[in-house]
């Protein structure tokens, strides 16, 4: 393999490591964006243009922004006093190291029998659109339903639980004051 692959891989792996290790959550989210971008470059290097640009649009554009919003809404940018890693961090580290060892061993064992097609696939976005509308039309519709349901569910879950349906409109009615029960106190 060539120099460009190692450069992009170092980019992606370094971004992922920084995202997991950085203490400040906003910095971690920015490092996560770098990791997503490196993975999109790897997709482009594998001649998957559509997946690469979809990765940039969905992950760098939407998911990273969503993560930053969630961090700021939950005051997660303050570094907690008791540390950012859990008490059982050593067990988690050992488990993930074991998983990586098993995966790398399996890949290196199977390396001689892996598929090895060097010709670049002649697949255009036109072909992908035709496949999505013909052979994969049922999964496409199911994904559309899933995304609609997930977005409705996310809005309903994140809605303020104490606010009544009319209270949030800013109506100057004094009758609602004091009737909302305080469940935490």
């Amino acid at each position: 393999m060539d120099f460009v692959f190692y450069l992009i891989s170092a980019f992606a792996v370094g971004g992922a490591l920084a995202a997991v290790l950085l203490k400040n959550l906003v910095h971690a989210a920015l490092a996560l964006t770098i990791a997503f971008f490196g993975l999109a470059l790897l997709f482009l290097r594998l001649d998957a243009q559509f997946a690469g640009f979809a990765q940039i649009l969905v992950y760098v554009g939407a998911v990273a922004i969503l993560v930053v919003f969630a961090i700021l809404l939950t005051k997660g940018s303050e570094v907690p006093k008791e540390g950012v890693f859990s008490k059982s961090w050593f067990a988690g580290l050992a488990i993930s190291a074991g998983v990586f060892a098993v995966l790398a061993w399996a890949v290196l064992q199977a390396a001689p029998s892996l598929p090895n097609e060097t010709a670049a696939p002649a697949v255009t976005v036109n072909d992908i659109g035709n496949a999505l509308m013909s052979r994969y039309v049922l999964p496409l519709e199911i994904i559309a339903v899933l995304l609609t349901a997930a977005l409705l569910g996310a809005v309903i879950v994140a809605m303020h639980e104490k606010a009544g349906p009319k209270q949030s409109a800013g109506a100057p009615g004094p009758s609602l004051l004091g009737t909302g029960e305080r469940r935490n106190s």
Binding site: M1, F5, V13, A16, L17, V20, L25, A28, A29, L32, A35, L39, F43, L46, D47, A48, F50, A51, Q55, V58, Y59, A62, V63, L66, V67, A70, I71, L73, T74, V84, F85, S86, W89, L93, I95, S96, A97, V99, F100, L103, P112, L114, P115, N116, E117, P121, V123, D127, I128, A131, L132, Y136, P139, I143, L147, A150, A154, V155, A158, E161
Partner: protein, 103 residues
């Protein structure tokens, strides 16, 4: 060595990093970030196998990766909505303090 193996090693490395993040961090948002990294490593595997497969014109691995990206976006939206809801209720995002299901 086949050119596929380095991509699989990189994907395994990113998967292990994401797993370590999901298992060792206290903040629920960091757990979600680890899960996103693991999903992306799986996508890299799918795309790499699609690229070096004998029949890339069938588009199986590519379609799998595209649908996986869509499912991951839905998962991120619902997961972060849950984190915000739990933060409003319990005033914490620490997964070690989330030990009650009843409010």
């Amino acid at each position: 060595m086949t050119p596929l193996a380095p991509y699989l090693i990189v994907a395994a490395l990113i998967f292990a990093i994401g797993l370590a993040g999901a298992l060792t961090r206290r903040n629920a948002i960091m757990v979600l970030i680890g899960i996103e990294l693991m999903l992306n490593a799986a996508n890299l595997n799918l795309i790499a196998f699609w690229r070096y497969s004998p029949h890339p014109e069938l588009l199986s691995g590519m379609m799998f990766a595209i649908f996986s990206i869509a499912v991951a976006a839905a998962e991120a939206a619902v997961g972060l909505g849950l984190v915000i809801s739990i933060y409003r209720h319990a005033k914490t995002t620490d997964v070690e303090e989330m030990n009650r299901m009843k409010g």
